[in-house]
Amino acid sequence: MRKPIRCTHTAALCASLIGAGLACFPAWAQEDPSGSWSPRFHEDWLERIPGPEIGDYAGLPINDAARLRGDSWDATLIELPENQCRAHGSDYGWRGPSNLRIWPEVDRATQRVIAYHTHLSAYGAEQTIWMDGRAHPPEYARHTWAGFSTGEWDGDSLVVTTTHLKENWIRRNGIPRSDLATARVHLMRHGNYLTVAVLVYDPVYLTEPFMRTTDFVFDPQQQMAPWPCEVVDEVDRAPGIVPSHLPGQNPFLEEYPAKYGIPPAAARGGAPTMYPEYMLELKRLPRLPRPAGGAAQP
């Protein structure tokens, strides 16, 4: 006959062992993010769907280097064959016009969640979030659009840390996020709603961490379309040409502040433009005359 295991150690040890045991399985508070999710675009709709305006860096904690990258960026860069099918980074991909599917990978024997996988319809981008405690790869390993991600629970939120990212966007108008950045993503499920909060830490182009949120609604009837991408020759251009604006010669940078009546200094972005108190500064800054034909809707 098996003897029952008795806790004869101190109360602290018993509590520790119980806690360690519970850590093997999802706690009751954890909100499993698995399912089909439909995006909502009420947040930053103008930036996400029509696309950001040239020269709109407002609200981004960028440095001068990022600003010049944006000023030099020419949208025709995207039509180069080598850039046409380029996916978004996993820190940015949530923002796209993408249906989202999340599913767990479970070890059959232990029923532990080894990983969560995500699929976004835009570019068919997929990300694996390892939940088994594995280490991140060494510095010399490859970087990918998805990066290398590990997850852990913080209360009922799944917190994902991603390294080994390729360079990508902070904003889709040439403001870059470097390949040395780390992203920390919080997946917060509240019943049929999923909020994805992304924090980007970039020692190259950001002066402060940058955070933004994106919302999804549970949608079990959702269809996920495939996203094949074929490279085509859109423009007959000699190989090796890289479209860009020379410093100080981008003629489009003042269109955005003029169109929306925003002070040009505010459009240049920087950490102060993220904070509510900057509204006071906005009132003091000079603005450009609005173009003929009426003002655009902000």
Binding site: H136, V204, V242, P247
Partner: protein
């Protein structure tokens, strides 16, 4: 009586951390930094794809191709790292080292030539002995573009040569040399006047891997060795050649993989970012040259300032200032 082992302090602490809810991730908040420190002191092997591996930590990156025919190395690292390189190769394969291909002349890529070549052997016979003498079978063959041999054997004033045992045993002078080894075609592609005047990129066609040498690095601006015949235009031509050769898979990712001369393993999307950066800087400096600006004026204008936080340096062998000067002087030639 049930005996119970006394739980260690560490175990108790770990269990307590679980109870307190402190996430384990805090302990590995900077994984890349720790890995970087390790990589700097040891030679590490990374499986690339197909028959190809990448060795890091010996100076320049080393490419290793293994198979039934033996071992082929692209570059050999620093001389003082030869023992560790050999040990790393032996963990991958016990077959003989048959070939070494040098991407260029620099000592961080050719320093191990002598020791590592002597640890190997070329299959001699036919016209092989006739080509390179009676010693053909006693060491691995060292292949390179002719200029590598020229600069090792007859260094320019002020530049170091190399011991004779490190010299290439076979050279080529054409745009390309081909080799079939370990079941795959291997192309040695000469890129004229790029990092130096003796650059070779090596394309493993079946494994689908390009070993780029110092034409492509991920940890800084490209090194343009003007004194050894380098030129920024050649570097850009080399980057364009990689983009032309490589075929990415879905999302412009994976497919052909590229081993840079220094830094991390890449695919063509990484090369495109780098090529765009170098081309944009070249175009800016070219515009300044066209407007008659002096080197001092160009440097004062800081044409690299948007890329400096990622690739620039104010210390060490290759500073941002030296890079800008090399671009300027390349374009003035």
């Amino acid at each position: 009586m049930i005996e119970r082992s006394r739980p260690s302090t560490a175990l108790l602490a770990a269990a307590a951390l679980f109870v307190l809810g402190i996430p384990a991730g805090i302990a590995r908040a900077q994984p890349a930094t720790a890995a970087a420190d390790l990589a700097r002191s040891e030679v590490h092997a990374l499986a690339v794809q197909g028959s190809v591996y990448m060795l890091v930590g010996a100076g320049g990156n080393i490419t290793v191709q293994i198979g039934d025919d033996g071992v082929l190395l692209v570059d050999t690292g620093l001389a003082r790292m030869s023992g560790q390189v050999l040990a790393a190769v032996r963990k991958l394969s016990q077959r003989p080292i048959r070939y070494i291909i040098n991407t260029h002349v620099d000592a961080d890529h050719t320093g191990g030539n002598e020791v590592i070549a002597q640890a190997g052997s070329t299959i001699a016979g036919g016209n092989v002995v006739g080509n390179i003498g009676a010693s053909a079978g006693s060491q691995a063959a060292i292949l390179a573009f002719q200029a590598v041999l020229d600069r090792m054997a007859s260094p320019s004033a002020g530049q170091a040569g190399a011991p004779q045992g490190a010299w290439p045993t076979e050279t080529y002078t054409t745009a390309e040399r081909k080799l079939f080894f370990n079941g795959e075609g291997i192309q040695m592609l000469h890129i004229p006047a790029a990092h130096t005047d003796g650059d070779t990129m090596v394309f493993f066609r079946r494994s689908d891997v390009i070993s780029a040498g110092d034409i492509f690095v991920t940890n800084g601006y490209p090194i343009v060795d003007l004194a050894r015949g380098g030129n920024i235009q050649g570097v850009i031509a080399g980057l364009n050649r990689i983009i032309e050769l490589a075929i990415p898979a879905d999302e412009q990712e994976d497919g052909t993989l590229i081993i840079p001369g220094h830094g991390r393993l890449c695919d063509v999307a990484d090369v495109v970012f780098y090529q765009e950066m170098v081309t944009i800087i070249r175009d800016r400096v070219a515009d300044m040259v066209k407007r008659g600006m002096t080197l001092d004026q160009v440097e004062a204008a800081r044409p690299t300032r948007d890329y400096d936080p990622r690739y620039g340096s104010t210390t060490g062998f290759w500073t941002t200032e030296k890079f800008v000067a090399a671009v300027y002087q390349s374009l003035k030639r």
